[in-house]
């Protein structure tokens, strides 16, 4: 039975009017957000599509682009060892930085969800690194902290440790950069904190009546109820980590020995050092597809580990 059949003629007219009014409202709404839509079309959608086109050309910014089909992609996969090196470095970086960052963010969030005097001050202070964020200034500071004669080694010296070559050794540099990302745990932490407040207290009360330990309650109550937020943070941080650029560019410039040559640096080098814009566009599309695939995989598996309170999980 369709809806229209059951509605009397008069009422139908009334409904029609309502729909028209609603349409007009939508129209006005569209006008209100027109600046944003235009911005999206001009500054995001157009570059997005044109980069796809350029990825099939030999565009170099100064001469007119020539269509070369799949040559860029072929070359990336068959004749560019740096591509694989940067993929490897980025893979390690993502696998390392994202879980550690999330675990750390969760740890701090749990600490900060305690009901203490002045807790808001602590929350603010712990969020500060994220405001300073992946800025150039922080990266420069990081370089001076971790260089051979930097503050960190100086302090370790008092403990008779080191000096560690944090940034100059090909085996260590990537981890030092990972630390910088982990340090910017603030935005994930705030989300975890919000999630923690949402968990009904009676669950913990029930747990403690049943004699569950704090640790057990954390893993049996807190973690399952936080999984939707874990999913969100995981996806967001993963997407960001794949595109990480500032730290590696400013601090190590991809070195030593390409050990911190992240994918975004490879892309930047092709585009802005060698001006092979077509080639760089192809690289950016490959990165886009990689991120899409990983995101899809995470969402697919999320069915089996994310728990929604309304029973969808």
């Amino acid at each position: 039975m369709s809806v229209s059949n059951s509605v009397p003629a008069k009422a139908q007219k009334h409904v029609g009017q309502k729909i028209r009014v609603k349409k007009n409202y939508q129209y006005i709404g569209l006008l209100y957000i027109a600046p944003w839509i235009i911005g999206l079309l001009v500054f995001q959608f157009y570059p997005f599509l044109s980069s796809l086109y350029y990825s099939f050309t030999d565009y170099n910014m100064v001469s007119t682009p020539k269509f070369i089909g799949l040559d860029n992609y072929k070359k990336i996969f068959t004749a560019d060892p740096d591509f694989y090196q940067s993929l490897k470095v980025t893979g390690i970086y993502v696998l390392l930085a994202v879980p550690v960052k999330l675990a750390f963010a969760l740890f701090i969030a749990v600490l900060l969800s305690a009901k203490l005097k002045g807790i808001n001050l602590f929350r603010t202070v712990y969020y500060l690194p994220s405001i300073l964020g992946g800025s150039v200034a922080i990266s420069v500071l990081w370089r001076f902290l971790f260089m051979k004669e930097g503050v960190i080694n100086h302090m370790l010296g008092y403990l008779h440790i080191g000096p560690v070559d944090w940034l100059g050794s090909p085996d260590v540099a990537l981890y030092t950069l990972g630390l910088l990302t982990v340090w910017q745990f603030g935005s994930s932490m705030v989300l975890f904190l919000a999630g923690l407040q949402q968990i009904p207290n009676d669950l913990y009360e029930a747990g403690s009546i049943d004699g569950a330990s704090k640790v057990r309650m954390f893993f049996k109550i807190t973690v399952p109820l936080l999984t939707p937020i874990v999913l969100f943070n995981l996806v967001m941080q993963m997407v960001n980590a794949f595109q990480e650029f500032t730290g590696a560019f400013v601090i190590t410039n991809g070195g030593p020995m390409k050990s911190t040559f992240l994918y975004a640096l490879k892309l930047y080098e092709e585009a802005f050092s060698f001006f092979k814009m077509g080639y760089a566009s192809a690289l950016s599309w490959i990165l886009f597809i990689i991120i899409m695939v990983v995101t899809a995989v995470i969402f697919k598996t999320s069915n089996s580990w994310v728990y929604y309170e309304d029973g969808r999980g």
């Binding site: 600046p35 260089m147 100059g168 601090i251």
Partner: protein, 449 residues
Amino acid sequence: MKRKKVGALCIAIVIILSILGGCSSGNSEPSGANNTNGGGGKSAGNEKVTLRFSWWGGEDRHAATLAAIEAYKQIAPNVTIEAEYQGFDGYEQKIKTQLSGGTSADIMQLDLPWLQELTGKGDFFVDLKDQSEFDTSGFDQNFLSNFGLYNGKLAAVPTGVNAYCMIINKTLADQLGISTETQWDWESIYEAGKKLHAEDSSKYLLLADHAALRQDIITMLKQRTGNQWVNEDFTVGFSKEDAVSSFEWLQKAMEAGVYQPIGESDLFFGKIDQNPKWINQEIPMAPSMSSTLLSLKNVLPEDVEIVTGLPVIAKDAKDTGVLVRPAQLFAISNKSQHQEEAAKFLNWFMNDPEAAAILGDVRSVPPVKSSQEAAVAAGKIDAAITNAVELGLKNAGIVDNSVANNSEVQKVLEDIIQKVSYGKSTPEQAADELISSLTSKLEEVKGRQ
């Protein structure tokens, strides 16, 4: 209801228009200027003209250039010069984006490799030979044609003469008992560096990031072969033996601590003056271009004496390998609406003694003899820089071709130098890899020409 709708529509339209207006305002000015200049260059006497002038540099160069622009107001009150200046980082990207979009400044400072690349790809610059306002007679004609002339056009003029040299902290060298008079060859500098580091492990003889190491290896190759390290016809200019022996030297120099380990020095890539070892005076010498002398000097206390000498030259060198090139170059955009005024300003900037006295050595030693004399007379040129340039000109090696300045080609060598420096490749392996990678990269670059 209806009124509200109209109101909303108006607001939306205004916003849209203002956005579109914002986008196009960049174009409206030149087209207007075009109309006023329709009568040709003759009308340019008292008419208000605005020229954009872009350059990169450090504080000294900014201050001196701005002072010169200020002084030009007295010469040509109708001309307003808009300065667009910044550090080196990102300047190349900005200039190339502007050139491709047709929005570059009227007068721009360029680096030699970009100029060589750009002139191969398109026609962007005014032929300065056609500009009667611009006097080239003061320039060394060889220097001018070697670096400014492309496809028969004078696309740019050198801003200053820059020479590869040894920049020496004499105060420190004297303390350490290192002679500042010696003409170094590769063996003697190795021995001196080894001795210094063995006596005090916190000290190294030479300051170098990977770009400076690349330059040292290229110099070594040129001295062995007497030829370019990559040829104009996109072939490799040296043999495997040449590469092996150069890398052998590099390997033993790195092991002996002649250079600071590259992992430490490369954190200050492109800004070696910020290296704490140099600032704390634990490294006495830097093989570098003479144009970096001022920044290296400015980070040290005032009483420290900086001198210059020739770079390392092998005893049996077939070519000195001493690089002499323009510090930078100035070009005028052929999209400029006021080419004649731009040429007039550039002429004053390069040739006028008053301008030279203001600018001094901020773009190394002026390429025009009379300007150089005026700057020296005004006490504005560091004697150490003059010395480096004079030594360089006297001992100049072959002029690098454009292939040798290609950033992708240089990168191949830099990557392999890193492997040797870290001890990850033996000289033998590195030489093989260098020749095969270089051959394929050169072929690729050739295919794109």
